[in-house]
Amino acid sequence: MKILVPVKRVVDFNVKIRVKADGTGVDLANVKMSMNPFDEIAIEEAIRLKEAGKAEEIIAVSIGPQKAQETIRTALAMGADRGILIKCDDEVEPLAVAKLLKGVVDAEKPDIVILGKQAIDDDSNQTGQMLSALLGWPQGTFASKLELDGGKARVTREIDGGLQTILLNMPCIITTDLRLNEPRYASLPNIMKAKKKPLDEKTAEDYGVDITPRLKVLETVEPATREAGEILATPEDLVEKLKTQAGVI
């Protein structure tokens, strides 16, 4: 069995980004970049399936600038077998990413694609669902547990009221939620080994996909800011303030 894992290069989750003063976007110069945290969880899940003898090969694919190679190398160092970089210098919207991934699926014929539930930069939460639609495959989104059994995937999903369990035909799409697993760190020897693993480079044209955006970004601005309030001395003061000043209790 083959597993495909799309990994996105994003601003590190610890960075507090800055909006450019002229409203043209977010300042990404000299900002620390990392693999989208949900994609680390996706890679980890794929590796565990391989370690359990349920999968033979893991392919990591990223759509982005040349530097997204580093993100693929991280996936290879964690334990993916080979990588594909689809080089695109501009932002690619989820629908176009899904179309490119469909191209990769058609070529590689994986049995499962495991994606993150959400990229922490665009916060879209769309790509996995879109890819499922384009392929006509079932989807198990926001997964906190995945079991492969008898040619089906049993997925526990984090939903608004708690947990839901569904059974999917294969091949299928999975998107990861935070509780699925705890990703491992790549060891130094594995980081060295990853440098020798194969990494193909492709372009959007190779897959015949039009990546023209459907949404025009008119402006990017700072959200309304909140001022720090007052530190109070006692719980008694707090109750008093909440009653008289804030009027919320």
């Binding site: 507090k16 916060d123 989807q139 999903r157 984090e158 939620d177 949404l215 990017t220 309030g229």
Partner: protein, 314 residues
């Protein structure tokens, strides 16, 4: 052309998020139809028809729609969507699951979690955990939109839209529902509560969470929330998580207890009207956005706070 609004419900009652998303729908078009898809949910359709501004309710009932599986909902809505300029849904776990699938079937983009409608084709949405707000203009013929309900007021009741039954297509049969484990609580629903009390890693155990957070919530008739760290540690279940990748809340009063205030947590609560932080570290980032702070040990502060509250209400 009008707008199709997808109702959020559990086959028994209409979720309050729908009335909020209705405000966003009305900002796009005055001609709003509401789709109620499920099984044995005709009472929900009647409720939906009462929302102010509803022109018509479409009711699709079938056993395979009961659990709102994405494959089934996308197949149902794909032909319907073509009759509208936009399809909207409150950003719940159901719509986050199926709406992007619908969008791809229609070959259009989705605009996720809008916080404002600037014009029928231009919307605001937060990115980077709410640290930037983008205005985006859609060039697609059908706009697929999920609505962050905290920023839209609920419409009143007062409508009297008729209910029209529509046929559901046969099941696509790609997935099966096995079961659900829903957290049961007597507390108000997190997304809709007027007061939220959230606990973080500092609670230290499930027992402490129950002992310290629950009674305070009870006293304030509040919903209970949590940070990711508290959920990961198993103090409470996943559906309590507030934040960028959990639930977004904006109550009148939010009390953060033993929560440091990581950007991912702030993303889910910084639009609350009044924020209270209780933390032993005066440098904790949560204090930068709190209206009122108490610096100290939560295990000493919470019992005192409770007794003050009961004094003042007694």
């Amino acid at each position: 052309m009008g707008v199709l609004l997808i109702a959020e419900h559990d086959n028994t009652s209409l979720n309050a998020a729908t009335a909020r998303a209705m405000s966003a729908a009305l900002a796009i078009s005055k001609d709003v139809h509401i789709l109620v898809a499920g099984n044995g949910c005709s009472s929900v359709a009647v409720e939906a028809g009462k929302l102010e501004g509803a022109a018509k309710v479409l009711l699709a009932e079938a056993p395979h729609l009961e659990n709102h599986l994405a494959e089934e909902l996308a197949a149902l809505t794909e032909p319907l969507a073509k009759q509208y300029e936009a399809v909207l849904a409150p950003a719940t776990s159901v719509s986050k699951n199926f709406m992007p699938r619908l969008a791809a079937l229609l070959d259009v983009a989705q605009v996720s979690e809008i916080t404002a409608v600037k014009s029928p084709d231009t919307f605001e949405r937060p990115i980077y955990a709410g640290n930037a707000i983008q205005s985006v203009q859609s060039s697609d013929a059908i706009k697929i939109i999920t609505v962050r309900t905290t920023t839209f007021e609920a419409v009143e009741e007062g409508g009297s839209a008729s209910v029209e039954k529509i046929d559901a297509p046969a099941s696509v049969g790609l997935s099966d529902f096995i079961g659900e484990e829903l957290s049961s609580s007597d507390r108000p629903e997190l997304a809709a509560a007027r007061v939220v009390v959230s606990g973080g890693r500092a609670l230290g155990s499930k027992e402490n969470f129950v002992k310290y957070i629950e009674p305070l919530a009870e006293q304030l008739n509040a919903a209970v929330g949590a940070s990711r760290a508290a959920v990961d540690a198993g103090y409470v279940s996943n559906d309590y998580q507030v934040g960028q990748t959990g639930k977004v809340v904006a109550p009148e009063l939010y009390i953060a207890v033993g929560i440091s205030g990581a950007i991912q947590h702030l993303a889910g609560m910084k639009d609350s009207k009044v924020i209270v932080a209780i933390n032993k570290d005066e440098e904790a980032p949560i204090f930068q956005i709190a209206d009122y702070g108490l610096v100290g040990d939560l295990f000493e502060i919470l019992p005192k706070l409770q007794s003050e509250l009961s004094k003042s209400s007694g």
